[in-house]
Amino acid sequence: MREKATTLYLGPQHPGITGNMMIRLKVEGDTIVGATTEVGYLHRAFEKLQEKRNWLQSFTLMCRFCVPETDPMEESYARAVEAIEGREVPERAKYIRVMVLELARLASFMLWYGGQNGSLGLYTMGQWSVGDRNYILDLFEELTGGRVYHMYIWPGGVRRDLPKGFEKRVLKTMDYFEKRLNDYDDLMFENAIFKKRTQGVGIVDKEKAIEHGVVGPVLRGCGIRSDIRIDDPYEVYDKLDFIVPTAEGGDIWARALVRRQEARQSIRIIRQVIDMMPSGSVYNKIPNPQKWTLPKGDAYVRTEAVRGEIGLYMASDGGTNPRRVHLRGAAYVHAITLLEDILIGANIADVSAIMNSLGTCPPEIER
């Protein structure tokens, strides 16, 4: 006899949900037969607010779009402003930006390690990785004064130069992380539970990936080599030597394999950047922010964040405030149409693991 479908509301307050959103599941027994994403729990109208604020004030909102990854948003904003205005950025600042972006990427990977394993009930990894993440946050605190929100990469360069001996401390931390990533591999990728729960679950095939506009590790997990840092290079990524890992299968396991390699590539990039960093100034001063106007025009910049492509469209009407700042994050395409699609046929217990592997971040959907 066919079981009757039941509606199950997962979220907005549920430990397995990656933020303030809800998924309305239609389930038959333990199997999902329909899913609808419901958002609207944390809309902060940042983009509306930015239209009322001057160029520098609206910059301070950028890092708040998505908490696990604050620096790519700042960098996008800075680069879009520079593109419209034609402002030059000192070479040293570009290297520092890449270093900060990669440190932020590594910190975000640490959160992902915890979240992905936590969603499967494997809590040791979360204790380790979130603990280790603090070493990076310590570096950020020293450099920027903030642990999570930095407001460091701003239009014209970066806010201050590296403190004395900072490079050495970064390299020491990287040595530590290199060792720790091996421990993570033993704990995560040698774990039978992790393998069993992730292989063949949440599959995104190549056709679906193109149809849904999938980006980042999810796309690379389908075997498609795509990375904004290589395809549409920004800052100094075109001068650096690193590889873009891919994996076949398109399931949670494949996406985990991609991220595992990417974390190592970030360490590689940070070492190169410190090695190649030129001396010089780090900031091309902006005018008085109250009177600072940008010429009429628009720009669209793309950044490779941990969860995938971040796109920022910015339009200026020649005034002191942005005409429009329009952000599109990876979660905007992953967490609604794609998630609703691939949840069908999955088990209730897999929802959280799938959401984590897609990099779902609700604040990015509701800006």
């Binding site: 193109i210 506009g213 669209y300 329009h326 599109r328 609604i336």
Partner: protein, 189 residues
Amino acid sequence: MQKLKANLIEHINSGFRDAVAKDYPNENRLDFYVNKQCIPSILTYAKDRLGYIHLSHIAIVDWLEEGEFELIYIIWSPEEKIKMFVRTRVERENPVMPNIDMIWRQANTYEREFREMYGIQFQGLEAPEEFILEDWQGPPPMRRDFDTEEYANETFFHRPGREDAGDVREEIIKRSREEIPDFAKKYSR
């Protein structure tokens, strides 16, 4: 790069004569200004024939003074590595746009948001009526003529808050016995 761009302009103009191209010589960017009715056909053509398989963004700007919304479809070709901006304008009064979610599924999310936040109707869009707003009765809130503060003052009653709530600056001055700096005085209540 310039050769690719010239080739692209030729291809687009051969199928869509009204499309006006604008080149940005130092960037991997090419803009096309088109009529809104051309949007589905030009995007399908670019995706299927020219290799622009990735819809990177659909941006929207409210040009209130000109009485129009501008929609910018930004598509990307992984092979040519060029960003193509397909731009169109639609009137602010009863705006209607063609729907493109059959070309890229994720366009559905953008269109839902624009319908709710800007009041643009997309022909044949199949999606739940509500996206981010719940039981919203007011005008589309992301339009530039919507004043958030004014709407909040008219719609909601004022809640006085704590009775002992004072100006925090005055409290600090009292405690530290220091004068308020001149630049901060204008912000003082």
